[in-house]
């Protein structure tokens, strides 16, 4: 099954662009399902409640909070085993 990565971000959050860049760069190398969700959107609100998110950026991988803050590039790539 393909790994599913969801990045929860906010408009005001200054670390979010870096977190987006990390995942977008990885997306070019690895094959995984990726989406960016604003915390204020309906989908975002659902995730905030479901995972008790209190910080952005937060990365959810396969129904678990995997990273809070900007993910470490090496750790992030380790979670995505199958390169394109």
């Amino acid at each position: 099954m393909m790994v599913k990565v969801t990045l929860v971000t906010a408009e005001w959050c200054h670390f979010c662009p870096t977190a987006k860049q990390v995942w977008r760069e990885l997306k070019e190398k690895y094959n995984f399902e990726y989406s960016e969700v604003d915390y204020d959107s309906p989908e975002g609100k659902k995730l905030v409640d479901e995972f008790s998110i209190v910080s952005v950026p937060t990365t959810i991988i396969d129904d678990q909070i995997a990273f809070v803050g900007v993910p470490d590039k090496n750790k992030a790539s380790k979670t995505l085993e199958s390169p394109v």
């Binding site: 005001w12 200054h14 670390f15 870096t18 008790s52 209190v54 910080s55 952005v56």
Partner: protein, 460 residues
Amino acid sequence: MYDLVIIGGGPAGLTAGIYAVRYGLDIVVLEKNVLPGQIAATDVVENYTGFTAISGPELMQRFKEHAETVGVKIESAEVYSIISDNSKKVVITDKGNFESKTVIIATGANPKKLGIPGEKEFIGKGVSYCATCDAPFYKGKTVMVIGGGESALTDALILSNVVKKVYIIHRRDKLRASKILQERVSKKSNIEIIWNTIAEEIQGKTGVENVVLRDLKRGDLYSIPVDGVFVYIGIQPNTDFVNVKKNNSGFILTNEKLETSVPGIYAAGDCRDTSIWQVVTAVADGAVAAVSAHEYIMDLELGEELHKKNNVDVDNVRRIKMSCKDNLDGISCLKICEDSTADDLQPIAEAIHALLGIPITIRSLNKRGIRMERGEVVDRDYTGPVLEEVLRSNKIIHTVPTEGPYKGKAVVVAPIRTSEKTVIGAVGVVDIVAALDILSMFKEYPGIFDEVETSKKKMQ
């Protein structure tokens, strides 16, 4: 090869870039974040001259625009280490290596951690270091701010507009923050300051629920239920990756030119040991560091010429300059040879003078330390035997003569051109008292301080 690599694209790094470009240096700024600078994390800056109030991200955006407009090249890269090899530095990054003549470290800082149980476990689950980032998640909740400085109060105020209640925990009975912030805090009915108290543990099941506090006056422990903890107990410099002298907290030690302990490497802004860490001081540092880097590059070029034309070991000349600093009494160009004139030293002396910018005297002496001038015996000089040792070992030698013209001074002799029979040494002479002042500069000559101390005692 670049003239200058600047590590960090915050206020210090970008300002260094702007100055360096104006000096015509070939530079690059390496920055790991898409939005650089700690100040991007704050909602409003009210103490940067020229702006009564400006948002942190906007100020940072202006710095960036200014830098890019004048031609500062910013590349996305995270620096892992610097290898320093005399006149060349190699900056190792996730995007490859960058070679440069000089480096400015402007990597800033990150919030310092409390280091108490529960802190690490609950990062992102109730423990935060950034109110502007996370405040909206605490709407109507109770939070705790730990610290009593500018950042603590600023962020307590931000939180107070969103949450139900803010506790400020401070270990003293007075705040360090500016009066203006203290007044604003005292006007907020939902901020309560708990004095003389430290946090000992953060507790909870899946997120923060309680903080265990210790009252330092009474000594007792108690806990307060909160949903979030915001930590502002100072900053931790991002300097692990670089091998230069630092203080105990990791801040890089510099002199007034922002030189570090490694020639050609400079530090600017929040990453260095200084008295205040602000945008206005970071940008000032950036300018100073860039000018110093420029000077160093000019020296390098002069040095290369000196080396090419006269076969002089320029690094040793430079080391003399570094170690003696402004306390240098003078420099002599000496040559060991029997009964000859020292006229051939003239061009070398002139070139060294151009490099060091200080007067140089020329002398020749024979091996017994008899000073000759134009073939004539002048007098005895302690430097004869020292020069001979230099000739033998081809190393920098230091000494504190107990007699002769340099009695009571600290003397450093470095070989700058040696052949089988002759040695030309640069002799730096430093006042002993001054030598003690510039102790740190002499660290590469172990032992000299014992000598200096003994000699000083003898004189008294």
